[in-house]
Subunit: 368 residues, 2 copies
């Protein structure tokens, strides 16, 4: 199905993307500003994954860096388009489609801005079905799609194109460049054919974001529970209801890292650990959920998603866990995004508290 | 004058380059190994600056990183050629000449290896007339030649091409990438026309290195003083004769930084401060010479140049100061390579102890 994304979709999209962004992906308000500005120049066509021609040239466009910095450094449209332009020159053939690398406040709307500015269609899909902090952490990596050539650019006009031996090296080099360039750059890469995109992306992400975002607002208007509405659409469960009593946060090596404690009734409390995104939720010392499943924080009454950089003392919040795309639970995927990768000595806990055993790659379809 | 560089020139060249390299530029022994290996495949034509056609496409090829790391990580010929190849693709036109960015043990011989492997002529010239630690510190920067597009590559096969807003930003981004990639990468950039090369390079560098290197060996054979022979060719003066009694050295942010103390007769001692290259020489608290003039250390008896990473307790050494290319004493140049840039709160002291006042850019010819 091909449809048109207009300014009316943006609020819902940005809100829903911030929910699925599990605390990362940047401020949805800033993402919405940027997309609205881009759509003022014309609507953007959104095509379903099944409509993308086999020989399409699909590119991810995203912002790389610490969300704590992104909120103070809104990119211009020129900056959004620059890495795609640089990569087009490098690839020597025209780009046909733009796709989102992840869902998240800024990284679901920057591709809209890029598509609008470039006059290209956007695919209703993304590379994760959530947000993750490092650029190799997309399902296409599991399918053998290379991140490089990857272009990056900053607001000053500096640009680079990397060609690396694997996607982890793209992340390493782009990350140090990103930190040197001010902790926030625009990137474009993971060029893939329509066939590769169909195999590896999460289908329907943009529609899903809009649906979730609109359901939260709809519930508010109908005086029903917005959090419950979100939980239902996420097929998730509510882990905790309480008040933020402590937030430790540092922007180090290009990431917003930290932990938050939320106290509930009686003596119970939940601790969330994050690196841009929430990675581990522990209640009274017991692990309730971990990456790759989704852990997210919604404002208790309004259901408004709260990003990790926006967590503040005193907020009344509800913590939700929800299932990730099942392909994130393959053994290969868990090695890339499981708790162990981030330094937590624990197995991956699914949103329902069971242990993820890391099934074979066959569950990732034709994974490479 | 066009001549042919052969394996017989290499020892003299590497030795002389290590003299002019003022302690930096890497181990001349390693540089000589690499050049000999490359020349086994065929000699390299060396052309004078005045013979380079106006419309030539000249590239610098160099190793970037800490000399302390370079000595443990000898590049392969494939690695030497890779950034030139990547840049040729990026520029979309054939490279016609290779030039040295600086003189120094490794960076005078790597371009020979690149020229041999690519079958291109090498220009008898370089971008500094000495060695400096950061990549923007070449005379072409003063003439408006841009470092970017600049390609870098490592031994693993990772490559990048940067396009930056100025040469200082090329240095900043390439430096962090270099550190992440293991503190030593091959780079190529500063593409310039023959006209630009003639305006901005230091003419006759390779010949001068060979002359100095051969004079040192010749003096040894004739039982005359090799150090005096070098001093005469450098138009310099001997600052100090003594024994190395203390060396502090750390490899930080991609550089070999440190200081060495050398004790002489009586209570006199000289302190050398370096960042890859020697930058400041102080005797008994009095500044004798600073960057941009040349400060170099030769083994007391043999006249063998000693790089900063090879300085050791107990070595008998003689410290020499010599004039830099006069263009390094313009106000614009001193802002880029004077003591103040490196954090020393002192004016530039010329090799003869007088103060450099930083004359106008007109002394740099048609400097931009």
């Amino acid at each position: 199905m091909t449809w048109t994304i207009t300014a009316e979709h943006i609020d819902g999209l940005a809100r829903g993307a911030a929910v699925l962004g599990t605390g990362g992906g940047g401020d949805p308000y800033i993402g919405a500003l940027l997309a609205r500005q881009a759509l003022a120049g014309g609507d953007v066509s959104v095509v379903g994954l099944d409509e993308v021609p086999d020989d399409a040239v699909v590119l991810f466009v995203a912002m790389m860096g610490a969300p704590t910095v992104m909120v103070e450094k809104l990119p211009s449209l020129d900056e959004v388009v620059e890495p795609v332009r640089a990569l087009g020159v490098h690839l020597g053939r025209p780009i046909t489609h733009i796709a989102c690398a992840e869902v998240g406040g800024v990284n679901s709307t920057i591709p809209i801005a890029a598509a609008a500015a470039l006059g290209l269609p956007l695919i209703d899909a993304d590379g994760m079905g959530r947000a993750f902090p490092e650029l190799q952490m997309v399902l296409p990596t599991l399918y053998g799609v290379t991140a490089s050539p990857l272009a990056f650019s900053d607001e000053k006009g500096n640009t680079g194109v990397l060609q690396t031996v694997d996607n982890a090296w793209t992340e390493r080099i782009a990350r140090v460049a990103c930190v040197e360039m001010g902790c926030s750059v625009m990137i474009s890469g993971f060029s893939m054919s329509g066939t590769q995109a169909r195999d590896s992306l999460v289908s329907g992400s943009l529609s899903r974001c809009i649906e979730i975002g609109q359901a939260i607002v709809g519930a508010r208007e109908e005086k029903t529970d917005p959090v419950a509405a979100a939980v239902a659409l996420l097929n998730g469960r509510e882990l905790f209801d309480g008040k933020v009593v402590d937030v430790q946060r540092a922007t180090t090596t290009g990431f917003a890292r930290g932990r938050a404690r939320i106290d509930g009734e009686g003596d119970s409390s939940i601790t969330l650990q994050f690196q841009n995104e929430h990675l581990v939720a522990e209640k009274d010392g017991q692990v309730l959920a971990t990456t790759p499943d989704l852990i997210l924080v919604l404002e208790g009454e309004s259901g408004e998603p709260i990003t990790t950089e926006a967590l503040r003392y005193g907020q009344r919040v509800r913590v939700i866990a929800a299932p990730a795309d099942e392909r994130w639970h393959s053994a290969e995927a868990l090695a890339m995004v499981g708790p162990g990768y981030f330094g937590y000595d624990m197995p991956a806990h699914r949103f329902d508290g069971t242990i993820s055993v890391g099934h074979g790659a066959e569950a990732a379809g034709e994974a490479a």
